[in-house]
Homo-oligomer: 255 residues x 2
């Protein structure tokens, strides 16, 4: 594919190529590619950039991670393929953040592949390669977590998470920060703090915030209006669709 | 995955499983899975059903195929995986329709796999396994077509087509009927007759129409308002988003 860096969708298209490559090496499963496509469609509708509302959610998320006693970032194959560097930046900026492998389609080989990608990006310790505990109320293969990570976390940053798992964490009284481009997904609607943004942009912005010195000791659980964040995202999509509907479609002269 | 047939999204979810399987057998490429995910997102926004406007487009498409002297249906890996039976029904109902393999990521093995899937579904003759002609204005690997099929067709039904190819066909003066769930895609905006519907539903409905005896000799190229069809689809999405925005997101009581 001859793709110019000045192509308006260059970043989205190179991301796609990178994810297909990560699939060939076994990091990303077939279902992960389909899920990425769903995200691509929503990102396209959102204008492929971070909205002001999403940026505020990212700053709030950085505050929650700072305020947490035992924060954790959960990482699956797609997150490792797309944003391992950003996860490493978060772990460096806030060393008490645990980083845990968390796979929907778990095999020992994939768990090691995800951990390997994180370690190459600079994460010192990766939990969850050999799970040591279970979350109640989930099918057995998806319940497996690390006793030192998600199991005991007070704040869970779960990018690209499945709805059942997000709900199970909330039922346990854990604060859930999601990163999901679909504002209508069960994960987005379940999270205490839903970030509707592309995962690399979202985690990069959270890292930016964490790398700045905290201005003052953060208020524990500064309140966040999740419903408002989701309706902001729906409105952004709506505005773009209305603009598109108002434009007449390209009609080329017949040859 | 324990999935009940009564699950509201049963069909979409089993389709996803089927496509992942078709990928493991080599019929569908990694990029095809991502493209499917994009379609899933738009189908979700459209309510995962055929809108009245899309159904009218499908009936118009059946009329155009009937009115054509040399109609062709172009089939790629995703179309073969999702709707080989529907393609076979179209070919049976209107025997002068040529069926041609048309791959964005072409290898001889994949071309044979697509042809094999079509033949197993009942298509008698599959063109394009060994391309014999080129369409001007396209990169060489994507320009390759069959001299007896797309190359000479007056009406091309191109489900899940790439925008460059759709434009190249139009520039040649060929009538383009697209099937694409994204009403904003270049393919949808290029087509003379864009169908905004899921490929299996769309081709199934076209087959339904072709299987009914034609009431009268069809008017050659009955006019079709492509811009209207696309704005209908955008309005459907818009209505669903507005309804979702009006509903307050599910907030579960904290444990």
């Amino acid at each position: 594919m001859r793709l110019s860096p000045r192509h308006p969708r260059y970043r989205s298209l190179t991301t796609r190529v990178g994810l297909a490559r990560a699939h060939r090496t076994g990091l990303v499963v077939a279902e992960g590619l389909i899920a990425h496509g769903r995200g691509e469609a929503f990102d396209y509708l959102l204008g492929e950039r971070t909205s002001p509302s999403a940026r505020r959610a990212e700053t709030a998320a950085a505050g929650w991670l700072r305020a947490a006693r035992r924060p954790v970032v959960s990482v699956n194959g797609n997150v490792a393929a797309l944003a391992a560097r950003e996860v490493a930046r978060i772990a460096r900026a806030l060393p008490r953040v645990a980083v845990e492998v968390n796979l929907f389609h778990r095999t020992p080989g994939r768990a090691r592949a995800v951990a390997g990608a994180l370690e190459r990006a600079g994460v010192q310790e990766v939990l969850g390669v050999r799970p040591t505990a279970r979350i109640a109320g989930l099918p057995s293969d998806r319940a497996r977590v690390d006793r030192r990570g998600i199991y005991v976390a007070d704040v869970c940053l779960v990018p690209l998470e499945d709805g059942d798992r997000a709900q199970a964490l909330r039922r346990r009284g854990q604060k859930v920060i999601s990163v999901d481009l679909n504002p209508l997904s069960r994960t987005s609607r379940t999270a205490d703090l839903p970030i509707v943004d592309e995962v690399r942009r979202a985690l990069g912005h959270i890292a930016d915030d964490l790398e700045r010195p905290a201005r003052r000791s953060p208020a524990r659980w500064a309140p966040f209006d999740a419903a408002r964040a989701l309706s902001d995202a729906l409105e952004t999509i709506d505005r773009r669709l209305n603009r598109a509907a108002a434009r007449r479609p390209t009609r080329r002269p017949r040859a």
